[in-house]
């Protein structure tokens, strides 16, 4: 990350409910003006982090810093962040205008200021003509936009979004992804978006935190995380993966499924046990003599823009392949991949060590 001052910092933050540790020593920094995503399965602690930032929950230990000030004890109503809730939480007793005006009214703005603020926000979400509608007259997508407008009307430094798109259908969700991204870039404020949908995270974010079991497993740009997953969990959670166990013969030479393969990873002990990741879209089906492995086609399903094929090698490992051409079930074919398609993951490597190792041999190359 660059040397910009962070808006939000977590320093060794932990939280338990009863005896369950929900967050374990969380450390991270959020810079202003970027789109962040907290990505993880349910129960991973991602929404908990959001609630700690908004003040709905209080941390047991650690410091939560907002613009260089510790805000652990600051009540929610005095924090300069606003939340878009999962179920929108629009006030049913107020119409659209009143919902959006809720925050500005509490701030004590005068009538004209409130009116112009509300219409500015409604314009932003393209629902100006809905100002006098009641909440129960809106569709899910429209309620979603009003929830965003209401949260932004308070001019927060940071907007928190708690799985806001999960209740929408696929097409609407796609549209809202673009729109949210556009709103974020137009306003230039920080968005922290919580989701369990990896596709959504990859499409929208500047920076992703992958969470599991109350721990940040890996953080980085969408490309980093997709191309260089740190461990089995991340590789499995982000996109489709073929993961097999193997060992490093030496730098740039890995052994798995009974063969040695050239690769581009280094910095590990000789003969160290590792996991090997190969993405389905990096695998090609070729004639047997051109392949690096020989596999038998097991199943095939058509996915519109590609065929999803499973194949079994002679050791019984299953390989997921995404191919543009169809294959014949039961046929024996070759499986081809390039050295740079092989990604190596060490067991129990911390994020810092992982980053340091990557840097060390990437520098060697240059």
């Amino acid at each position: 990350m660059t040397e910009q001052k962070p808006v939000i910092e977590f320093k060794k933050v932990s939280l338990s409910f009863d005896d369950t540790e929900v967050l374990k020593n969380i450390d991270f920094e959020i810079e202003s003006g970027k789109f962040y995503t907290l990505l993880g399965p349910s129960g991973s602690g991602k929404s908990t982090i959001l609630k700690l930032i908004s003040g709905q929950l209080m941390a047991d230990n650690g410091d939560i810093i907002f613009e260089n000030q510790r805000i652990n004890e600051v009540p929610a109503e005095h924090r300069r962040v606003n939340t878009v809730f999962q179920n929108y939480a629009l006030f049913p007793n107020m119409n659209v205008f009143e919902n959006v005006a809720f925050g500005p009214r509490l701030k004590g703005l005068n009538k004209e200021e409130i009116k112009s603020k509300v219409y500015e926000m409604l314009d932003l979400v393209k629902l100006r003509e809905f100002a006098n509608r009641e909440i129960d007259e809106l569709s899910g997508g429209q309620q979603q936009r009003i929830a965003i407008a209401r949260a932004l009307a308070n001019e927060p430094q940071v907007l928190l979004l708690d799985e806001p798109l999960s209740a929408l259908d696929y097409k609407l969700r796609k549209e809202m992804q673009y729109e949210l991204r556009e709103i974020q870039q137009r306003l230039g404020i920080t968005f922290i978006f919580v989701t369990h949908d990896q596709e959504e995270a990859l499409a929208m974010s500047d920076w992703i935190f992958v969470m599991n079991d109350g721990v940040i497993q890996q953080n980085g740009t969408p490309e980093d995380i997709y191309d260089e997953p740190i461990n089995h969990f991340v590789a499995d959670f982000i996109g489709e993966s073929n993961i097999v166990e193997g060992s490093m013969r030496s730098d740039y030479l890995v052994h798995f499924v009974g063969k040695d393969f050239e690769n581009v990873d280094a910095g590990m002990r000789a003969n160290e046990r590792v996991e090997v990741v190969l993405r389905p879209e990096d695998l090609d089906l070729v004639p047997i003599d051109e392949g690096k492995l020989v596999v038998t086609i097991e199943t095939q399903s058509f996915r519109g823009d590609f065929y999803e094929i499973t194949a079994i090698d002679d050791d019984g490992n299953e390989w997921q392949v995404q191919a543009t051409n169809s294959a014949t079930i039961g046929e024996r074919v070759g499986l081809f991949f390039h050295p740079e398609d092989i990604h190596i993951m060490r067991f129990n490597e911390s994020e810092d060590d992982f980053d340091a190792r990557l840097e060390s041999y990437e520098d060697d190359d240059e």
Binding site: A76, N82, F91, N93, R133
Partner: protein, 262 residues
């Protein structure tokens, strides 16, 4: 259904005879409004009707405030046992027979030396109305989306603003239902009032009971007929008030769709 017919036909019987020219319910002597004239000339009964309404209105208003606060307390109580205890106490008051409540209040007022009359009746009516309000408000709180509270705080509301601008409006149908129910309970309460009234203060049910012992005058029929009209008006008012908000929404929708059509 049959029992309902019997009840309703009795009522009509009562009302029809209020217009009887004779003085008894046996035999129709022709149409007359004389019992209504007697009724309006009877200043004591008019005063008692007013007393009854004043007690009903005051007790149900005060009970609505206390009952809503109680429901909020139960809803916000984080300790499960405490919640259960308060809720059980509430339900005990709700199901215990009026005679028991009346007798207990009589003992209480006598022990503390509280003189019987308007205040004792009012206090006991408030007491038995509170659980009714709690019972009507609590489900509304439970079905309220909990993130509304979080959203209000998130947007900068303090506790009072959160309560007055979000929670109370959202649960207002429950408060309204509780108020009207408490009002009718107070209006027709006999047992509790009978125990705790005194010093010449009386309500309608108690007064009718004491008069009935000397044989029912058709004046009471006239009064019942009028009370029937009043209760009907009450039901209509409740219906109107509770559907008004939706009507308002409906009208706005009609207007918006009409203007959009243009």
């Amino acid at each position: 259904m049959d029992s309902l017919h019997i009840i309703i036909s009795t009522y009509f019987f009562l009302v029809i005879y209020s217009f009887n020219a004779g003085d008894v319910m046996q035999g129709w002597d022709g149409f007359s409004l004389k019992h209504y004239q007697e009724l309006f000339a009877d200043t004591r009964i008019i005063e008692i009707v007013l007393n009854t309404f004043v007690v009903a209105l005051l007790s149900s208003l005060i009970a609505s405030v206390i009952g809503t606060a109680g429901a909020l307390y139960i809803y916000n109580q984080s300790s499960r046992t405490m919640k259960d205890i308060v809720l059980s106490l509430n339900n005990v008051l709700l199901v215990s027979p009026d005679v028991i409540i009346g007798a207990s209040f009589l003992i209480l007022f006598t022990v503390v030396g509280f003189s019987l009359g308007f205040m004792s009746v009012l206090l006991s009516h408030i007491a038995f109305s509170i659980p009714i309000v709690v019972l009507m408000v609590l489900p509304k709180l439970k079905e309220m989306n909990t993130s509304l509270v979080a959203a209000a705080k998130d947007l900068g509301a303090n506790n009072w603003q959160m309560l007055s601008r979000v929670i109370l409006p959202v649960i207002s149908p429950g408060i309204l239902a509780g108020f009207f129910m408490a009002f009718t309970y107070s209006l027709d309460d006999f047992a509790v009032t009978f125990f705790v009234t005194g010093n010449g203060f009386s309500t309608l049910s108690v007064e009718i009971y004491s008069r009935a012992r000397q044989g029912i005058s058709l004046e009471i029929n006239a009064l019942s007929a009028l009370m029937f009209v009043v209760s009907l008006l009450l039901v209509l008012t409740y219906y109107f008030v509770s559907t008004r908000s939706q009507n308002k929404k409906h009208t706005t929708r009609l207007i918006t769709s009409a203007t959009e059509g243009v």
